[in-house]
Symmetry: C2
Subunit: 153 residues, 2 copies
Amino acid sequence: MVSPEQKDHVKRIFTDFLEKNGHRKTPERFAILTEVYEQDGHFNIERLYARMKQKRYRVSRATLYNTMDLLLHCDLVRRHQFNGAPAQFERAHAFKQHDHMICRSCGGVQEFCDPRIQHIRSTVGEMTGFRVEHHALHLYGVCKTCLTKHKNP
Amino acid sequence: MVSPEQKDHVKRIFTDFLEKNGHRKTPERFAILTEVYEQDGHFNIERLYARMKQKRYRVSRATLYNTMDLLLHCDLVRRHQFNGAPAQFERAHAFKQHDHMICRSCGGVQEFCDPRIQHIRSTVGEMTGFRVEHHALHLYGVCKTCLTKHKNP
DNA sequence: GTTTATGCAAAGGCTTTGCATTTCA
DNA sequence: TGAAATGCAAAGCCTTTGCATAAAC
């Protein structure tokens, strides 16, 4: 899902960020970045921990939390929290902007894209003086699959 | 902020909801509804608990959580979670739809309104078959106040 | 009189923190 | 060498759960 060029690119972004902010370039941090960019879609800390353990890469949960913070700060990952569930992450670079629909019946999360959200961001930013850096639009309701299931039980 | 007529109205909505779903109409539930509708803006469970205690109304946190669930189900309150902070609630009935801007510098939350979000809801719903019931649009960035502060330190 | 709701305290789950040890610069 | 990061375990915090008691219906 991610080309070698893209991998190099995000590594470069991370390296620059770490250097610019006086953080150390530890092997753990790059191992986590690599693992994050091999994940498709959403994942949580526990899952990341399990995957790395499975690959025999020893990292502590504390380091996972710390590193995700760094990756958030340099915009290489996004963090979401749907309802009260544990935080979900997803890689952010080189992937087109999207938002989420959350089904209250099955709990599933789908993605969608609507360019008009950019217009709202601009307008609101200009009118209020707020500098918009990111956004999250969540649509809550019932997904197509669950709707048809309930109609034909 | 809430007229007596509006208070009666939401009580009626809650009463109907409880009866329709076979829940009991306990004094605690109505006391909580009343307190919720006296709150302006956002509040969390702890604050609600403190306010009611201060007014000498004995209610347990467990009942607060349970009752907020009921109020969520009949759409009398909204629930938000900004970043990883404790859940925030706000009354929902008879107040115009709005969304939120969250400042990463001061942590403040401002409201805004843009009718175009309704168009997005409709379009996405039609195109995907997802039945949209609610939405939440969060704009993350830096608020006007913090921007000017950092420019003039 | 049943059944549901309440209150309290304990348990749970995700996340953060403290501290000794390691490692990067 | 000195400061920062790691790992581990413990602590924290919000929320849920279990069970005895109380109160709707």
